[in-house]
Amino acid sequence: MRITGNSARNRAVLAVVGVVAVALSVLVFVEGRGGEDPSNGDASRRDEDRSRVEASRMTPAPATEPRSLPTTEGNPAPLAPPAEEKTLRIKGVTGLQYDKVRFTVRPRQQVRVIFRNESNVNHNLVFTTPGDRVKIVKAALQMGSRGPARDYVPDTDRVLAHAPVLKPGGFHEFTFTAPAEEGAYPYVCTYPGHGYVMYGVMRVTSDPGGIPSLSEDPLVPPDSLRGRVEGQEATTLHPYSTKPPIIYRTFMPESGPASIAVGLTGGVSYAFDAGRSMVRYAWSGGFIDNSEIWKGHVRNQRAEIVGTDGEPPAPSFQGYRLVEGRPEFTYEVEGATVRQRIRPAEGDAPGLVRNFSISGVQGRPVRFVTSRSDSVAHRASAGAWRGDTLRLDPADARAFTITTVRAEGKRGKRSPVGQRASMNP
């Protein structure tokens, strides 16, 4: 659920149209439960940056280049037969995380992994070659409709081993031989939207004492991504537990410069704007990542929202044609083509009627996400509203209409109109 606040840019649009939130509505496709965001293209860069900054900050700095860990140089792999098989129990747990974010094995050691999904959403477990976690995550997303049948595991030799997608409560056991080459081999859940936060690292080394301490390991997720860390007073980020509720005054996107991010139990978070004394928006599934801001004196950084299903997929604008003098916009979202005609609503209240026709849905349900507001009302020709989100089955999604009008009886109670068009979670 992405709840979009009214940014200055949006208000500028609204001033022209006179209707709140029209410009904010977006289409979101859901694949099964969750509907996580596969489009956070910045995540890999952020991840690299964090690795770099962590590596340079911590003392003693881990002498490892995160993307290409030293292998046998100066520390040859043992020629003796590898040690006996090692058994690892890894669980997918609530908060999009593995309970174990790191383990070591020796080169060429037999590894037996017992993977259990103890969370309430689907997960898999994919081991990759060093430095390739994000590549694999992206490749899994590009599988599109082929993904589910293949457990979102791309067909590439960058994947060393994997467990398939497990439903909540499921388990899977598999064995593989650890690579002969020492290094850091990521493991990750490639289920859409999970890969940027749910991962860990297998360190293949003949010198397990030589790896950085867990708190200094740039290849494990920071606590802000790990969510609920029970019973842990100090974390790698703070001298206190980061389990919710948690509060940061920080620079937030789509809010004023004096903002307060609040992460609540249950995975819901919101941004409060202390400049306007109002909730600007809320999201769910993850909290925020301050790692850019904590670099200090660099540029105008902001916190990044780590919502598991926050960002809608990025659409690709295809242009428009004129129908009765009005534009019919075309854009593509995840392989589907959306056409949208907009005309004025009939009746006294100003508003817009939007006709959508969507092709290429391929059996996927469709979500239509709006910004809830006191000052507008949405009406749909099909589907079912749940909160601010309209859910349509694939058949209904072929053609439907959304009518958005200014809500009567609300004018004048909010001043200025639209300023309070925010969502209380």
Partner: protein, 558 residues
């Protein structure tokens, strides 16, 4: 705080080497001489390690804390309060060495003042906040906004510093200007002034580049003084004087210490956007001579790259717990592993004086080395100095160190005073006989830094000043120097050569920098009792090009 670009603008290496290399050579020479003379046992640095007057001890931060120190203070019960970049407010008990979390989640807090054992004031980016533990569990549960009556553009450089407290209890905070290293957000807090947007460091929203005065009870916030760029250090000194440091950059040829008075302008032009009567005026268009006449000059300038690159918080040295420098100021320094010691005097109403490095020489202390990134200083109840470090994207270290004095008298310049004909130097210990040689022991160079829009400044009109007379007192602690000429508006850099104390200890610091704003008035003879301050010069400013009277004293909310 330090400006990133400044790293690229440090004094050329050959100049630094030329200035700093010589003293080391002399120190080495003394080691040899002292060895020949069969003096007391000495370490490699030419002094008995146990004789070092100061000891530095690093404090271990608690697990999970990234110790980028934004503020230090002490609660009445003796616990240290430290605030850190990631938003933590921690307490540290020096007795038990235990850390405890008091508050968290603050936005880049950069100043703290403890008001009781259960309440502290913290300046964070968006506001001045009072944090109170109301239920006695040791953690703050009330986060109360004292004032947020100032603008924020979202620019990363808009730090907020303070609070300092005057004798009446009023609080003072300072607001950093924005940097053209980045722009501003679409959505601001406070009114936007387009005139405040141009410039290298700029003031797009109210009171960037100002010091504000805050009533701690009502939160009423009033503009106090302006013309600041990066005022990362506020303190009230002896006689109630208010001091603020500022960092080299545009309009600052070098870093400075200002003696700040109400309604005065201190030279950085961006803040004038919010000055009364400047509506619609682009301050950058004002002629520099006009601006130069408007501004108040710094009490002390710190030569860039030589003495300091980025001075931080000043503190007053206590009378008798930290060596023979009571009532002088110590100031943190980011780029060098040293502090700055400032010796002030008042000359016909103008506060001015000399600056010298402190703890710069390894012979001055034992224990661990002083770090760089010395951002926050505070004397504890026991008289030790606590120094908090940060880097925050600039050059520097992180952490917390405690510096104690063991009662030994350091070998140093204790004071430097302007006379009619030159300077009087007072030393902490008697000098050895014969070392104050008239021909070579004291060498002066003078130069000035330009006041202009450009970033930093070269040294202009740099030339040696001949020492025409050297007189030493009977107790050999005071040396009166006569100079060939004294010209106001210059920094007088003194290099001392070959001086050592009676016991054979070389001076800890051989370079002193005196900012000569104003000459002594003849025939003022009493060195220890400078002419009392009068406001006559303030009155004479009424003919400045822009009158500063009649400014609205209301709150800053727009």
């Amino acid at each position: 705080m330090k400006d990133f670009q400044r790293v690229l603008k440090e004094t050329p290496a050959h100049m630094q080497r030329g200035l700093s290399g010589l003293p080391y050579a002399l120190v080495l020479a003394f080691v040899l001489l002292a060895g020949l003379a069969g003096g007391c046992t000495r370490g490699q640095n030419g002094t008995d390690a146990d004789g070092a007057p100061y000891k530095i001890e690093s404090i271990q931060p608690p697990p999970g804390l990234v110790p980028e120190t934004g503020g230090l203070d002490f609660m009445p019960d003796g616990r240290l309060v430290g605030i850190f970049h990631r938003g933590e407010v921690m307490t540290y008990d020096p007795e038990t060495k235990e850390w405890s979390l008091f508050a968290k989640g603050l936005h880049d807090p950069l100043g703290v003042k403890a008001t009781s054992d259960s309440s502290v004031l913290v300046t964070q980016r968006p506001e001045l906040t009072r944090l109170t533990d109301t239920d006695g569990n040791g953690r703050a549960d009330r986060y109360q906004t004292v004032t947020d009556d100032f603008g924020m553009s979202g620019n990363y450089h808009e730090f907020a510093f303070g609070p300092a407290r005057d004798s009446s209890g009023a609080l003072y905070i300072s607001l950093n200007t924005a940097s053209n290293g980045a722009g501003i957000w679409d959505e601001l807090r406070g009114r936007f002034a387009p005139e405040g947007r141009p410039g290298r460091m700029y003031s797009p929203v109210p009171y960037r580049g100002w010091v504000l005065k805050v009533d701690p009870q009502t939160g009423r916030t009033t503009p106090f003084a302006n013309g600041f760029r990066s005022p990362n250090g506020l303190c009230f000194g002896p006689e109630g004087r208010f001091f603020v440091t500022d960092n080299q950059g545009d309009w600052l040829g070098t870093s400075k210490l200002y003696h700040v008075e109400k309604d005065q302008f201190y030279g950085h032009v961006a803040s004038l956007v919010w000055e009364e009567g400047f509506d619609g005026v682009q301050p950058l268009d004002l002629p520099v001579p006009v601006l130069n006449k408007m501004r108040r000059k710094a009490a002390v300038q710190f030569p860039q790259g030589i003495l300091a690159n980025s001075p931080t918080e000043p503190v007053v040295i206590p009378e008798d717990t930290f060596g023979p420098f009571g009532d002088q100021l110590l100031i943190g320094e980011m780029n060098h592993p040293r502090l700055l010691r400032v010796m002030l005097e008042e000359v016909r109403g103008q506060v001015q004086g000399a600056a010298v490095a402190f703890l710069d020489s390894s012979s001055a202390y034992r224990g661990e080395a002083l770090r760089t990134g010395n951002n926050r200083l505070r004397f504890g109840p026991g008289g030790d100095l606590w120094v908090g470090q940060t880097d925050h994207g600039w050059p520097g270290d992180q952490g917390l160190q405690r510096i104690s004095w063991n009662g030994r008298t350091p070998a140093d310049v204790q004071d430097m005073r302007l006379t009619e004909e030159g300077f009087d130097l007072v030393f902490t210990r008697p000098l050895a006989e014969g070392v104050a040689r008239a021909d070579s022991a004291f060498q002066f160079t003078r130069y000035y830094y330009e006041y202009h829009r450009d970033y930093g400044s070269d040294q202009f009109d740099r030339q040696p000043v001949k020492v025409t007379g050297v007189e030493i007192s009977e107790d050999r602690r005071r040396v009166s120097l006569r100079l060939a000429e004294l010209v106001p508006g210059y920094i007088y850099q003194l290099q001392m050569n070959g001086l050592r104390t009676e016991g054979g200890t070389p001076l800890a610091n051989e370079n002193v920098y005196y900012t000569l704003n104003r000459l002594k008035e003849a025939p003022a003879r009493e060195l220890r009792n400078p002419v009392s301050y009068s406001r006559s010069d303030a009155a004479s400013r009424s003919d400045a090009a822009f009158s500063r009277s009649g400014r609205n004293r209301g709150t800053t909310r727009n």
